[in-house]
Symmetry: C2
Subunit: 199 residues, 2 copies
Amino acid sequence: MMADVQRLETGNGPRAAILNAAMQLFGKQGYTGTSIRDLATEVGVLPGSLYAHIQSKEALLVEIVADGIHRFITAVEPHAHGAGSPVDRLRAMIVAHVEVVAENPERSLVVFHQWRFLGESSLPAAIERRQVYEGCFIKVMEEGVGQGLFKPEINQRIAVFTILGALNWTPEWLSPDGRLSAQEVGSLMAETLLRGVLA
Amino acid sequence: MMADVQRLETGNGPRAAILNAAMQLFGKQGYTGTSIRDLATEVGVLPGSLYAHIQSKEALLVEIVADGIHRFITAVEPHAHGAGSPVDRLRAMIVAHVEVVAENPERSLVVFHQWRFLGESSLPAAIERRQVYEGCFIKVMEEGVGQGLFKPEINQRIAVFTILGALNWTPEWLSPDGRLSAQEVGSLMAETLLRGVLA
DNA sequence: ATGCTTTTAACAAACGTTTGTTTCTTGGCA
DNA sequence: TGCCAAGAAACAAACGTTTGTTAAAAGCAT
């Protein structure tokens, strides 16, 4: 087993350290509940020193959220447009989602809960990306129903929200160091969630 | 001096108006993202005037969260200890949960997301109540497996977290004025979630 | 000495809260 | 009915602190 798994921001240097600390604090205390002084203390630097590396507190949030959504989309979207059956694709999407969460639960908490605090200039883009992500699940769900693989009488909107809700809540309890691997947890969740919609 | 905890009453008095506005704002902007001035503006009063009715900003959160958890437990716990089969009981619990959410989604958002910001004096009690609530679902799940009604090979912990995750996410999208009633949405979700665990 | 980075110090604004006073409403008593 | 004391509620202003951020000076490598 690798001794030093780098599941933090790629690249080193003070900027990555700041982004990492911000992810941790924003996830734990929320964006508005975290002060620049909190962040400086965590990094081990005086407050003003941060501004040699960041443009603003909000720029940190923008970067964390944008990068976070990107990771989810990158991991899940290929499966949505894959070649297999909607059932297999949905299963792969669920597993992929859980794996991204396990990679860094705090970052996922920021992505799912703190995006509201983005400024007016960056909020629309984030919302659009989120809709792209949800659209992946809606698309596969529709195809599954269309091919008669999923129960025809299910409410697709509610089925998707049920699945996404279960997935979005995972950073709240999933432990990357738990007994089960992310892949195993994802498979178990996929099993449960898929049986709920199968024809 | 000990301040008597007053129960959250719907409707009358300026105090209820403040609690209502606080629920709305805490749910939308978060506890730390909502200022006393925000709250005063929403109520239509100057900031200082609020303190004729409340003890502190945090006391508002304490009351909203405590009352909120109480509503969920009151609505769901009877079904957990009911007489029917675990299947029927779990279904009833899911429907009841969704109905409480629909009753006031903003309050549910506060209960699920803002409890972290409770002070050290009130946080343990809130966590304990939450565990009581989750315990209801764990109990029924265990009984279902024990009676051979639920799949024996499911991971109970993960199955419960999957169900609770889907439920806890509902305030994020559920609209009380939507086409479907809360009872209908709850039934659809129960249908989907139950089929995931049935033997 | 040239570039980064950090320190130091300070800024204006917003924070939760308290205070003294005014305004509005209400009920008892002549 | 008229008068007035009492209560409730809001106002206006300020408190000490914390907020995000900035500018100037100092440290330290190359």
